[in-house]
C-alpha cells in the first residue's frame, strides 16, 4: 500500500457521494516515479493543476490616441507644437525598443538590477506632446493623462514586468529587481532641486510629500521623474480608474449598511466627500519556488458505535501515514506592502488590514512612471527594500505552497498534520509600484485610545473595505437582549421536555 505519490490529472476534484471509509489515499499506487521529469510538466496556463486567478477589470487603453486631433490652441507662455525643449517627452515618437527592452542589467551584491527609468522624461518641465503646456493630470474615467489646456489625452506605455530579465517566471534564477526597487540609501536627500526649463528658476520639491511643484515664477508644473535611491520614484504606476464620485458612492454604500451600531459621533461627523486619492507603495513580485512539507495523515478505515456505561459512543479506526509532498510553483504579481507603517497590521492599534484587504490590483495594467499621474493625488513613499521584504515573501510563498498541496492530500479524510516545511526560492523578480487607493480616514478617540479608522476603495476594481467605530453601549444592549431571548428559548425547551 505504501509508495510514492504523484498527483494525477483531475485528482482532488470533488466527486459525488461519500468516500468509502476503507479507501486508502489515491497516491498509494506505484505506477509513477516520485519525481516528474521536466518534459512531462505541462506548459503554463494549460496544466489542469494550474489556476489563473482573479478576473481583472476591463483593461484601460494604454496606447496614445492616434486619431488626428483638431489643431489645438497654443497655450499662452508655451511653445507651439514642434518647438519643444530638449529632453521633452514625445510619446508619439517613441521607438518600440524603449527602456524596458534595453535590459542589459547591472549586478550589485548578488542582485541584478534592470534599468526601468523612463528615459523620455526628466526632472523638471515635461510638456503636453500636442500643445506644450505643462498642466497635465490623470483623467481617471479614461485612465489617460490629459492636458488641462488642450484636452489632449495620451498614456505612458504599459509596464511589462516579464521583460525584467527577459525570462518567463519558470526560468527565473536569483534576484532581479527594477531600478525603482533599488536599495534606499540613507544619505540620499529627499529634497530634489529642479531647474525650470521655462524660466531658469530653481524649484525645490520634498519627495517625501510631493512629486511635483509649480514654478513660482513662470507657473510651469515641474515633475520628479528621474530615479534616485530614496524610494520616491517607483518602476511603474497603476493609474486611478475609479473616479472620486464613484469612490464616494461606494463608501456611502458601505457605511449605510453599518449605521445602527456605529459610534454616534462618527455618524454625525461622517463626510465621505473628504475621501482622498492616495498612491500606496508596493513591491510586486514574481517568484519561482518550491515547497516541501512533511507530516502525518489519517485515513478512516471503520466507524462504529460501542457501549460505554449507559451510553453509546461513536468511535473510529484509522490508518496513519507518513506524508511527504513536494510542489514546484510560480507566482505572478504577488503584492507586498513596501511601507513599514502600512505593513504593520496589528488590529489592536491600527486598521491597516483594511487597506491590505482590498488587494489585489490588476498590476499587469501598470504603466511606466510619469509623475503627472500623481497630480491631484497624494502618495506615500516606499521605505522598505527587497532585503526587508524577503522574509515576508518567503512566508507568503510557504502559505501559497501549503494551500496548493491541499489537492494532493484530499484522500486523507481525517486530515493531515504538517510537522515540518521548507521553501526553496529559485528566483524572484521585484518591481516597485504605486497602486491607487481612495481612502477615507476617521480619527477616533475612545477611552483615551486613539485610532485612525480607514474605509478604503480599490481604485481599479472598486472593492471596498472599512473599519467603522462602534457604539459599545448599543452593542451591549443588542447582546443582552439576544442573550435573554436565547435563555428564554432554552428554558422553554426544558419546560416542554419535562
Amino acid at each position: 500500500m505504501n509508495g510514492p505519490y504523484v498527483q494525477q490529472p483531475g485528482e482532488g476534484q470533488p466527486t459525488p457521494g461519500a468516500q468509502p471509509p476503507t479507501q486508502p489515499p489515491a497516491g498509494h499506487t506505484q505506477q509513477h516515479p516520485p519525481v516528474v521529469p521536466e518534459q512531462q510538466m505541462q506548459a503554463p496556463h494549460t496544466a489542469q493543476q494550474q489556476t489563473a486567478q482573479p478576473s481583472a477589470p476591463a483593461q484601460l487603453p494604454h496606447q496614445q490616441q492616434g486619431a488626428p486631433a483638431p489643431a489645438a490652441p497654443q497655450a499662452p507662455g508655451h511653445p507651439p507644437p514642434g518647438q519643444q525643449t530638449p529632453g521633452q517627452q514625445t510619446p508619439g515618437q517613441q521607438t518600440p525598443e524603449e527602456q524596458l527592452a534595453d535590459l542589459t542589467g547591472a549586478t550589485t551584491d548578488g542582485l541584478r538590477e534592470v534599468d526601468t527609468s523612463n528615459q523620455n522624461l526628466q526632472d523638471g518641465v515635461n510638456r503636453c506632446p500636442r500643445c506644450g503646456a505643462t498642466d497635465i493630470q490623470l483623467r481617471a474615467s479614461s485612465g489617460m493623462l490629459m492636458c488641462l489646456f488642450c484636452r489632449h489625452e495620451w498614456s505612458e506605455k504599459q509596464f511589462d514586468q516579464n521583460k525584467l530579465g527577459n525570462v518567463p517566471i519558470s526560468d527565473l534564477r536569483g534576484t532581479v529587481i527594477g531600478t525603482g526597487a533599488a536599495e534606499i540609501q540613507a544619505d540620499v536627500n529627499e529634497i530634489v532641486t529642479m531647474k525650470c526649463s521655462g524660466c531658469g528658476a530653481e524649484v525645490v520639491v520634498n519627495t517625501a510629500e510631493a512629486m511635483s511643484a509649480r514654478c513660482h515664477w513662470c507657473r510651469h508644473n515641474l515633475t520628479v521623474n528621474e530615479q534616485i535611491p530614496n524610494g520616491a520614484v517607483p518602476d511603474a504606476v497603476l493609474p486611478f480608474a475609479l473616479t472620486r464620485d464613484q469612490a464616494i458612492e461606494r463608501i456611502r454604500e458601505f457605511t449605510n449598511k453599518r449605521k445602527m451600531f456605529a459610534d454616534r459621533t462618527f455618524r454625525k461627523e461622517f463626510r465621505p466627500e473628504n475621501v482622498a486619492g492616495v498612491y500606496m507603495p508596493y513591491m510586486v513580485v514574481d517568484a519561482n519556488a518550491s515547497v516541501d512539507a512533511v507530516g502525518e495523515g489519517e485515513v478512516q478505515t471503520r466507524q462504529y458505535t460501542r457501549k460505554r456505561g449507559d451510553k453509546r459512543e461513536t468511535v473510529y479506526d484509522a490508518d496513519v501515514y507518513r506524508v511527504e509532498r513536494h510542489l514546484d510553483f510560480m507566482t505572478d504579481d504577488l503584492t507586498l506592502e513596501s511601507s513599514a507603517e502600512r505593513a504593520d497590521m496589528n488590529t489592536l492599534v491600527n486598521t491597516n488590514n483594511i487597506i491590505n484587504t482590498i488587494l489585489p490590483f490588476d498590476t499587469e495594467n501598470a504603466v511606466r512612471w510619469n509623475a503627472n499621474y500623481l497630480n491631484g493625488f497624494s502618495s506615500e513613499k516606499r521605505d522598505q527594500d527587497v532585503s526587508h521584504l524577503e522574509p515576508v515573501l518567503e512566508n507568503q510563498l510557504l502559505s501559497i505552497g501549503r494551500s496548493r498541496l491541499t489537492e494532493s492530500i484530499r484522500n486523507y479524510g481525517r486530515g493531515v498534520r504538517w510537522e515540518a516545511e521548507r521553501i526553496n526560492v529559485r528566483g524572484t523578480r521585484w518591481v516597485s509600484m504605486y497602486l491607487p487607493v481612495w481612502l477615507y480616514s476617521y480619527y477616533h478617540t475612545e477611552r483615551g485610545k486613539n485610532m485612525v479608522h480607514y474605509i478604503a476603495v480599490n481604485a481599479r476594481t472598486g472593492e471596498t473595505m472599512g473599519s467603522i467605530p462602534v457604539s459599545h453601549g448599543r452593542l451591549w444592549i443588542a447582546a443582552i437582549t439576544s442573550g435573554t431571548i436565547i435563555e428564554g428559548a432554552a428554558i422553554a425547551a426544558l419546560v416542554a421536555t419535562l
Binding site: N2, R306, F329, T335, I400, S408, M465, I486
Partner: protein
C-alpha cells in the same frame, strides 16, 4: 441563525456530559449567545479579521505534486473525528522549518 448554531456548538458538549452539565448548559446558553452576538456585530463593523487572501487571489501556476505516503501505524477505537493537531487547512500558521 449563526448565533444560535455557535451557541449550541458551545453548550452542547457540556450538556451531553451529564445531567448537571445539562443544567449548566442551559444557564450558559444566554450569556454565550449574547457574547456571540456582540462579537459578530463588532466584527462586521470593524472587520478586524479581514486580510488579503493572497493564497487564493494570486495567480499561481503549479506543477504536479510529488512525494510519498508510508503507512506507519493503525489506531483502533478512537473517539477523535480528525487527526490531532490537524493543520492542513491552516496555511498561514508556520510549522518547523527543515
Amino acid at each position: 441563525m449563526n448565533t444560535l448554531l455557535i451557541a449550541l456548538a458551545t453548550v452542547l458538549p457540556i450538556a451531553s456530559s451529564s445531567s448537571d452539565g445539562y443544567l449548566l448548559a442551559l444557564l450558559l446558553a444566554g450569556p454565550v449567545g449574547g457574547g456571540v452576538v456582540y462579537w459578530m456585530i463588532y466584527r462586521y463593523y470593524r472587520n478586524t479579521d479581514k486580510t488579503h487572501h493572497f493564497e487564493a487571489e494570486t495567480r499561481v501556476e503549479t506543477r504536479p505534486a510529488t512525494g510519498s505516503d508510508t503507512k506507519v501505524n493503525s489506531i483502533r477505537g478512537t473517539r477523535r473525528r480528525a487527526i490531532p493537531g490537524r493543520n492542513d487547512g491552516d496555511h498561514r500558521t508556520r510549522v518547523r522549518r527543515f
